[in-house]
């Protein structure tokens, strides 16, 4: 049996080069946009609650609106992907812990209601107490909303997503924190956004570290994250995140303008990350190499399975 791992392009057999897996039918931009909005909304709800507790009214208003708006827009993106609104309701007929989409629907639905109520109370000034209660509820559901979307992708047979199932939740959580902090840096006055800057910076560090781990740990399976269009998107996102972090650390406190620029760059980086990861999955499903070669290697490691016949 030949060891084929060290040659640049691994040799493998396939059926006329056709994919083994079906490419995900989820639409672009609906689904990557939904992944981004979920992260933005979830982490904004956390930011809003912190702002309320520490008496930062402008930050609170921006974050509450981002949470409610992100959840509403995310729901629209999801429904657009499904085609018809009543199809979303079918998600709520059963609760299945084995289906991240089911679990996610039971996070998204109450989160949308609670963050919407909190934002409405904030904007109208009506029922402030209830608004705060709703806001706390949204803040509790926020982190799960920001991270469950990683399970959505990873709980599939798509090699680039599935094999990264330990790292993706951290990439998504960090990316969401970065987006929420970034948006607040863009829209809220500088004397109230210190926590937003810290959240964005910390989120960026988590995201970059987790994404780096995927590339380091997963070899061939992680190739779609490095090559082609998804690879370019991911590199662009990483540069955005790095630049934004640099500006934030150096001048985020001092310049309203630079803080806003860094914030917008954070948001752009987070959005681009989701498109890159989404498209890397599509590429990973399309090429039988990513299905066959790692499975062959696994069989070879186990020493069993059906060995190649060419002796």
């Amino acid at each position: 049996m030949k060891e084929q791992r060290l040659v640049p392009e691994p040799e493998f057999e396939s059926y006329y080069g056709r994919p083994i897996l079906k490419e995900p039918t989820w639409k672009t931009p609906d689904v990557p946009l939904y992944l981004f909005l979920g992260g933005l909304a979830g982490c904004s709800a956390v930011l809003a609650e912190g702002a309320a507790l520490t008496d930062r009214p402008d930050l609170e208003r921006v974050a509450r609106l981002a949470a409610a708006g992100g959840a509403a827009a995310g729901t629209v993106a999801l429904i657009h992907d499904l085609g018809r609104p009543e199809r979303f309701l079918k998600m709520l007929r059963v609760f299945k812990p084995t289906s991240p989409l089911s679990v996610g629907s039971f996070i998204l639905a109450p989160f949308s209601a609670l963050s919407g109520a909190a934002a409405a109370a904030q904007v109208t000034g009506l029922l402030p107490r209830l608004g705060r209660v709703a806001g706390s509820g949204a803040a509790l559901l926020g982190p799960p909303l920001a991270t469950y979307t990683a399970a959505l992708l990873a709980n599939t047979a798509v090699p680039a997503w599935h094999e990264a199932h330990r790292e993706l939740p951290f990439v998504f959580g960090g990316s969401g924190a970065q987006a929420a902090g970034g948006l607040a840096m863009l829209l809220a006055p500088i004397d109230q956004t210190a926590p937003a800057r810290r959240m964005a910076l910390a989120g960026a560090v988590v995201e970059l570290a987790a994404a780096e781990t995927i590339l380091r740990r997963h070899g061939l399976v992680a190739e779609p994250y490095r090559t082609g269009r998804p690879g370019r998107l991911i590199r662009l996102a990483r540069n955005c995140t790095a630049v934004a972090s640099g500006i934030t650390a150096l001048a985020g406190r001092r310049s309203r303008l630079l803080s806003a620029v860094a914030g917008a760059t954070y948001v752009a980086g987070s959005l681009t990350t989701r498109f890159g990861i989404f498209e890397a999955g599509l590429a990973s499903a399309r090429d039988p190499k990513y299905t066959v070669v790692p499975q062959r290697e696994r069989l070879a490691r186990q020493g069993g399975g059906s060995a190649k016949i060419d002796g």
Binding site: E13, S14, Y15, R18, I20, L21, K22, P24, G42, V46, L47, G50, L82, G83, R87, K90, M91, R93, K96, T98, S99, P100, L101, S102, G142, P143, P144, T147, A150, A151, A154, N155, T156, A157, H162, H165, E167, P169, G173, G174, G176, A177, P195, A196, R198, M199, A202, V206, A209, G281, A285, P288, T291, V292, Q295, R296, L299, G305, S306, I309
Partner: protein, 316 residues
């Protein structure tokens, strides 16, 4: 919720159909590709019986295969592989029990002659996995386990979310264009309930597709494998028969004459839900990290790096 991974001797009981004597035996397919002649009677019979719509006609250049793949409107797919015989096969084509009609190839078909072509034909189908990823991830409950242990979609419940599509490790199920909902082989659920044989198995002229109780099919397949090995056909192997494999064994399994990937099958599929526990744990840890970051961002500037250190250090 049934079990997610590993050996499972009674899928129906696991799915809530009561004790073994309260439900029918698990039914399945054994597709013996060594006797397949590539006539596509199974494809046609399936389309006709299940009223599966046409899904376009395309000349692919892939030997006699213009069907291409399983999908929402193709529930049996006959694969055609032409392998040049550059090396004399170690298996002189023993009598495989094939009818004498050879494939219409001028080179002399599956005879081991110099410059000849070795034909592989195989009728692929949904594997009706013991641990079916499509069923696990379906958020609506549209995909369900029948009393026969098969996996079936209910179109009236399916909302077209498409989650089942990338979840299937074999690339079987798909959304139907125009309709938007998911469809795949039902193992002729309606015919089973009437005590009939599924249409493809009924139509197969060479008994390449055999239908029956899974336990019996497995014994039959083992005997067939021994027979072929005794005849010197060392390349023969069973695929999806092992109840200890990554999907707990297939309800529809195969006898192949080459590596699975040559037929477009994954060599070592594993149901994605095997890692579900780890996945949710990591989602939980990441959510806690995000919450921690939030708290720390407001609490103190020095707390953030400290929390980060724990989160990253504690992560595997």
């Amino acid at each position: 919720m049934g079990s997610l991974w590993g050996r499972l001797d009674d899928v129906q009981t696991d799915a809530g159909y009561g004790s073994p004597d309260e439900h029918p035996p698990r039914m399945g397919f054994f597709t013996d590709t060594s006797v397949c002649i590539g006539c596509k009677a199974c494809e046609v019979a399936c389309k006709e019986w299940n009223e599966v719509p046409d899904d376009g006609y395309l000349l692919t250049g892939m030997s006699y295969d213009n069907t291409q793949e399983l999908g929402a409107s193709t529930w049996r797919h006959v694969a055609f592989v032409e392998k040049p015989l550059d090396v004399p096969v170690e298996a002189p084509p023993a009598d495989l029990g094939m009818p004498s009609m050879g494939p219409p190839d001028p080179q002399g078909a599956e005879s081991g002659g110099e410059g000849g072509v070795r034909w592989l034909m195989s009728s692929d189908v949904c594997k009706h996995c013991t641990h079916a990823a499509c069923l696990d991830v379906c958020p609506t409950g549209s995909l369900f386990r029948t009393e026969y242990g098969t996996v079936v979609v209910q179109p009236d419940i399916c909302n077209g979310c498409g989650y089942c599509v990338p979840a299937c490790p074999y690339g079987v199920i798909d959304l139907r264009e125009g309709d938007g909902r998911a469809f795949k082989c039902t193992l002729c659920y309606d015919r089973l309930k009437e005590g009939q044989t599924p249409a493809c198995a009924q139509a197969c002229p060479t008994e390449s597709i055999q239908y029956g109780e899974l336990s019996e099919l497995r014994e039959r397949a083992d005997r067939r494998l021994t027979e072929l090995h005794d005849q010197g056909v060392d390349v023969a192997r069973l695929y999806g028969r092992d109840p200890d494999d990554g999907v707990g064994g297939d309800g529809a399994f195969f006898l192949l004459l080459d590596e699975p990937e040559v037929y477009g099958l994954p060599p070592d599929p594993i149901v994605t839900t095997r890692d579900l526990g780890s996945l949710w744990r990591h989602v939980g840890a990441a959510a806690a990290t995000v919450a921690g970051l939030g708290v720390a961002s407001f609490a103190s500037r020095r707390l953030v790096p400290r929390l980060l250190g724990t989160a990253l250090g504690g992560r595997r």
